[in-house]
């Protein structure tokens, strides 16, 4: 029995050394693909949730995302993310009526300036035309549920949803 256990031990140790040699060539790629195929996704509080509709405008598009709701004790409000993405370029000033829920009626008016300097701070005003969505006054980067930020060439606005 002792000999068998010793043989098994040395075999396992040998396999471990082989695994070390294979790690950068086989295991690393295999594990990366395996992890990526698990069907996990990054929390929507960070990613903004999946896009549900795109509204075409002159020179840019507005992507409307699905409403994101906080989990258990997450310290954020529910929100909807709207992305202004340039097709050619964003105008210097945006004032847009946006139909978030797709019922044909505008829900919010979103107003912000687009400074030429990509590092310049952004401020947004949101007028609520539907009590479901909260108004925002002169908001910058405050919380994940309540902000305007530039990500690459797009401008993202997150409008809080009334609870």
């Amino acid at each position: 029995m002792r000999t068998l256990m010793a043989k098994l031990g040395y075999s396992a140790a040998g396999l471990t050394v082989c695994a070390a040699v294979l790690a950068p060539f086989v295991l690393y790629g295999m594990f990366t693909k395996g992890f990526a195929s698990l069907g996990l996704h990054v929390d929507e509080m960070y990613s903004g949730g999946p896009k549900v509709r795109t509204v075409q405008a002159a020179g840019y598009t507005i992507d409307i995302h699905r409403q994101v709701s906080p989990h258990m004790w997450q310290r954020e409000k529910p929100f909807v993310q709207l992305d202004w993405r340039p097709v050619s370029a964003l105008p210097a000033h945006v004032s847009e009526l946006v139909d978030i829920d797709g019922d044909g009626q505008p829900d919010v008016r979103v107003t912000f300036d687009v400074p030429r300097d990509p590092k310049a701070p952004l401020r947004v005003n949101v007028d609520s035309l539907n009590p479901r969505y909260e108004a925002m006054r002169n908001v910058g980067k405050q919380k994940f549920s309540d902000l305007i930020v530039r990500v690459d060439d797009a401008i993202l606005v997150r409008v809080p949803v009334a609870q």
């Binding site: 690393y28 996990l40 906080p70 990500v151």
Partner: protein
């Protein structure tokens, strides 16, 4: 520490040591030469220095029959050079060490291994990763994405188990360096109950991460935020978070290792270390005490940087599950009673064979993962001069 008591054994012959080092030299060349064509001059020099450094350290391990003091050179270099390379990259790419909220939304927060245990429960229950990164590479500081870091962690863990904390962790080297500065410990009496600290932090952080749906340790307690990247302090809460990071770093990574000559952050606080201890049970390599040779002088217990040996465990001939296979106790033992061991085999039967097999596996991983980090940090410094 371990370096005080040297083994009485004669050094291994140079020729035999060179022969034993040859596979590692070839492995180093294999790991670093493919990138040579695209590398600039400082990167090539850094890679060459790293290869020589890693090969020489392995040669010395072979020649002197000792492990800890040579591994420590690698580990301290890794701990010191990781922040150099990382902070330089962060400053070049985004101009600040604070993580801007837009980078989190874009999924470009670099993912280190520390939050891995915190992500498991939310992922299992909701298929959601509560970290503002990306699963696959996504530009900016996202690196290889969370999948790449998880893959490296899994590969290294399969090979060395808790040995991750001695051969792969790019944070622990700072405190190991601090622990080796003072000649003697000023604080000698440490309450053994402190060693349950990492488990308490792990439990609290896992539950908090599940409840708040955020990587709570990264947000509130990680001491290494002080030397990597931190929460952009736009509010009082952000200032408090950063204050906690700095205080924990100063206390656990600088002051206490200097006073105790222990890796106090690892031994008393690190939740990842506690999580990684579980994989000591699955690893084929471990360290045992040969009870027939043990006197017991408890030099091994004194030398252990993570308090992974107690009088009870020595009497049982075992290390605790928090043992990170650094080799300090093996090198410290004047009777060769503390030995490297392969599970299933008899204790102290061909311990050098067990050490060699472990070291080949561990050093291969160290070169692949830590070596590339050392080379990047060195290249950053060399870039200033070359």
């Amino acid at each position: 520490m371990a370096t005080k008591v040297l083994p009485t054994r004669e050094p291994r012959s140079v020729r035999r040591s060179l022969l034993l080092t040859l596979p590692i030299a070839l492995w180093s060349a294999l790991m670093f030469t493919p990138g040579f064509a695209q590398a600039n001059r400082s990167q090539r020099i850094a890679s060459a220095i790293t290869i020589v450094f890693m090969v020489v350290l392995f040669f010395m391990m072979m020649r002197t029959w000792t492990t800890y003091r040579w591994r420590r050179w690698f580990f301290v270099a890794l701990g010191l050079l990781f922040p150099v390379g990382f902070i330089h990259t962060v400053m070049v790419m985004r101009g600040t060490m604070g993580i801007p909220i837009e980078e989190m939304i874009a999924g470009r927060t670099p993912f280190c291994f520390l939050p891995i245990p915190l992500l498991i429960l939310p992922a299992a229950l909701t298929r959601t990763l509560v970290f503002p990164g990306s699963i696959l590479p996504n530009g900016g500081m996202s690196g290889g994405g969370m999948a790449a870091m998880a893959a490296i962690w899994l590969a290294v863990t399969i090979v060395v188990g808790k040995g991750w904390c001695s051969y792969a962790c790019f944070f622990g080297g700072i405190e190991e360096g601090m622990a080796s500065v003072a000649p003697n410990a000023k604080l000698r009496k440490l309450d053994p109950r402190w060693r349950y600290g990492p488990w308490a932090v792990l439990l609290a952080m896992v539950l908090l991460s599940l409840a708040l749906f955020e990587p709570a340790y990264c947000m509130w307690l990680c001491p290494f935020k002080a030397v990597s990247e931190y929460v952009a302090a736009r509010s009082t809460v952000g200032l408090i978070q950063n204050g906690i990071f700095v205080v924990l770093f100063a206390a656990l990574v600088i002051a206490l290792p200097l006073l105790t000559k222990k890796r106090t952050q690892c031994a008393f606080f690190c939740p990842f270390g506690a999580f990684q201890s579980i994989f000591n049970k699955t690893s084929v390599f471990d360290v045992k005490i040969d009870k027939t040779r043990c006197t017991p002088c408890v030099l091994c217990q004194k030398s252990c940087p993570t308090m992974s040996l107690t009088e009870e465990s020595i009497a049982k001939g075992e290390t605790l599950m928090s043992c990170m296979k650094c080799g300090a106790c093996v090198d410290a033992c004047p009777k060769d009673a503390a030995v490297w061991h392969i599970r299933g085999t008899e204790v102290a039967v061909k311990p050098e064979r067990a050490r060699l097999m472990f070291l080949y596996a561990a050093w291969a991983m160290a070169i692949m993962f830590g070596g590339s980090i050392i080379a990047q940090g060195l290249a950053t410094i060399l870039h200033l001069f070359v």
